[in-house]
């Protein structure tokens, strides 16, 4: 359990650049009040902490824990296919090495993620493992370096168990766009896990690993978190280094994370966040110890969110959103009200323009970023008689259907004569979207919405209709355009599959206010009664 807080009002101010006076957000812990009857003990707070305790007490070894997770991974992989590459030998070796260091009494042996099995999305470079980006053009490619976030995970003692599946180069919302395999949803293996970080979400949901890293350019962490019933965090643009993340759209990409609890997600964020000299877009803002700010359930008084103002985005609850999703979100809103907050509907002008603007900007930036995959310095090469033909054939052979589409669309939007009509206008819409969020976040501490218009749909349902697939991103892309942080927490179920399909609540905050989101998310999660987000396939094993 995290150390108890002192009994005083905990003022949590958040910084905004350039600052008009902002409302302070207050969570009220209180030692003297006994827990109200509505705050019965919630689900286990943290797998990371349990591991830490068992390692420190000597009750378990890292080798033992790693072996447990790897064995569950192997057992569930034939059905799930979350991993493109499983690094069992390396993971076992690292676990043994950690045990040796702990046994020898080494001072800093037990780091914040010591012995924690993690999955890493395959568009993040890992030096000792293949990194394909989900694409044939990088089949067999081994990077010469670790991404900064991977290096930080390792330094904290995490055990990387493998590289998770994704839509090729992050382009897609189902993980069906992977060149290698289709990952299935642990809640129903005829359905998609979401995308593009489908493997990372599915792996955490099925407890194949404890936490995982993904990337979010237009919702690629938040939507799969909702589909798989896990916690997903998209940090503020600049909060986490992108060095070593294979770029899709550089002004929109962020590295995000998944966990089965808000506490675990907060822990991994603290480890990977922070300035990196190798990423000039990374921020030097101080990284708080996010997990230490999460209040333990028995220290909360009965209205822990008193004074918090929450806005539900009107445009996300209308036509086109599944009824089950709307009622889950409204249920979550009323739960938040019971916790003491004020919840009101708020409208965001320009909301619907964000989707075409996003696809114009993302495709345009992708057409530029993916020009490096030319078969010359790395990856698959198709031989040819002249250089241009080599480029053309290597890329034709190595890049997938959706990737080619987006490169061609981006090339079109950027071509001479069309820049003003498409790219520049999309950037202007971006300004409108940023301003409307900024206005709303001056009146509300947090904005909420669904993370997707439906729960997980069937594999193959959207493969032939690009616009139908793009439509599902309406809840998430505006957040990327504005660079804001967002947290998705499982909040309910809709009918479908053997045990229902999870629905996630998206919470959006001001830049660098991940702490606020995590605090509210943690309280929400801990007070959610009678809902367990452990998929049925785990109950069987």
């Amino acid at each position: 359990m995290p150390p108890p807080l002192q009994a005083h009002r905990l003022l949590i101010s958040h910084r905004r650049l350039p600052t008009p006076a902002r409302r302070r957000f207050t969570a009220v812990p209180s030692l003297q009040s006994a827990p109200a009857t509505t705050l019965a003990p919630g689900p286990a707070t943290s797998s990371i902490l349990s591991i830490r305790e068992s390692l420190l007490s000597g009750e378990r070894t890292a080798a033992d824990i790693t072996s447990e997770y790897l064995s569950r991974l192997r057992r569930t992989e034939p059905s799930l296919r979350s991993f493109i590459h499983v690094a069992d030998a390396a993971a076992e070796r690292e676990a043994e090495e950690l045990d040796r260091r702990i046994a020898s009494g080494e001072k800093d042996a037990v780091g914040p993620l010591a012995g924690v099995p993690v999955g890493v999305k395959d568009n993040l470079c890992t030096a000792n493992m293949p990194s394909t980006g989900g694409s044939r053009i990088l089949d067999g490619y081994r990077p010469a370096y670790d991404a900064t976030v991977v290096r930080r995970l390792r330094e904290a003692g995490a055990i990387v168990v493998g590289k998770t599946n994704l839509d090729e180069f992050g382009m897609g919302s189902t993980t069906e766009g992977s060149a290698f395999q289709v990952t299935t949803n642990p809640w129903d293996n005829s359905r998609v896990p979401g995308g593009s970080s489908g493997g990372s979400a599915s792996a955490v949901s099925a407890r194949q690993c404890i936490v995982s890293l993904g990337s979010d350019t237009g919702g690629s962490v938040r939507q799969p978190a909702s589909f798989c019933g896990v916690v997903g965090l998209k940090p503020t643009y600049g909060r986490v280094s992108r060095f070593g993340l294979m770029a899709y759209a550089s002004s929109l990409d962020v590295v995000g994370c998944f966990g089965s609890s808000v506490f675990d997600t907060a822990t991994i964020l603290s480890v990977v966040a922070g300035h990196d000299k190798m990423d000039s877009t990374s921020s030097s803002q101080v990284v708080p110890d996010y997990a230490s700010e999460l209040v333990s359930l028995d220290l909360l008084e009965s209205k822990p969110l008193a004074g918090v103002r929450i806005g539900i985005i009107q445009e996300t609850l209308g036509e086109g959103v599944a009824n089950g999703v709307i009622s889950s979100i409204k249920g979550a809103a009323s739960h938040l009200e019971q916790l003491g907050s004020l919840v009101e509907e708020v409208s965001l002008p320009s909301f619907s323009l964000g989707l075409p603007a996003y696809y114009i900007l993302a495709s345009s930036e992708a057409s530029s970023n993916l020009s490096r995959y030319d078969g010359i310095r790395y990856g698959r090469q198709v031989s040819a008689d002249d250089l241009n033909e080599l480029y053309g054939e290597s890329r034709a052979n190595g890049l997938g259907h959706e990737v080619k589409m987006r490169i061609l669309m981006g090339t079109y939007a950027l071509s001479a004569g069309y820049y003003d009509a498409y790219y520049k206008r999309a950037q202007q819409v971006r300004t409108l979207v940023k301003e409307s969020f900024k206005d709303a976040l001056e009146r509300y501490d947090i904005l909420i919405s669904p993370a997707a218009p439906s729960a997980a749909y069937k594999i193959g349902e959207k493969t032939n209709d690009p616009l139908a697939m793009y439509a599902g991103d309406i809840m998430t892309v505006n957040v990327n355009l504005a660079g804001l942080p967002a947290l998705v927490v499982p909040c309910g179920f809709v009918e479908g599959g053997p045990a229902g399909l999870p629905v996630g609540l998206q919470m959006i905050g001001s830049p660098f206010c991940e702490g606020n989101l995590l605090r509210v998310g943690h309280i929400f999660e801990q007070t959610l009664q009678n809902l367990s987000f452990v998929p049925p396939l785990l109950a069987e094993s």
Binding site: S352, E393, A396, Y422
Partner: protein, 151 residues
């Protein structure tokens, strides 16, 4: 229960042009100067406001594939053409929005404090791995076929 029905019912939201959308008019901002290339653009945003998305020339897939250095098979061209046209038409809805005097945002703007590191070269410690990844390497050259100049 919901997925198929929701997929059928969900329509990409299109901008309703009957009422002008409420625009932010930021104070003290200069109008973004038009880049020189816009002189060749025969459709100005103002003119396009009244026009539909069809006013701009549709994508020439052969030219685009050449510019993107991707060889498309005839089958692929046939397959891509309608899909790309459909998406580009959908992009066209931005033509109808009045965006006069809105400054384009190059980025999210969350990191005003982005810094540059010192311009000091450091030797990378894993050159071997870089070299190993090169498909056609002939120490110390990367081998490529001849370059044909098409004038």
């Amino acid at each position: 229960m919901l997925s198929a029905a929701a997929a059928a019912a969900f329509v990409i939201p299109r901008l309703r042009c009957a009422t002008r959308p409420r625009l932010r008019r930021p104070s003290a901002r200069t109008y973004w100067p038009r880049p020189l290339s816009s002189s060749s653009n025969h459709v100005t945003p103002a003119a396009a406001a009244g026009a539909g998305p069809g006013e701009l020339e549709p994508p020439d897939l052969t030219r685009l594939a050449n510019a993107a250095r991707i060889t498309l098979s005839p089958q692929e061209s046939q397959d891509f053409e309608p899909k790309i046209r459909q998406v580009v038409d959908w992009f066209g809805q931005l033509q109808a929005v009045d965006l006069e005097s809105i400054v384009p945002s190059l980025r999210a703007g969350t990191t005003a404090d982005s810094s540059l590191r010192e311009d000091k070269p450091e030797t990378f410690d894993n050159r071997d791995a870089i070299v190993e990844a090169i498909p056609s390497y002939d120490d110390s050259y990367i081998k490529v076929p001849r370059v044909l100049n098409k004038e």
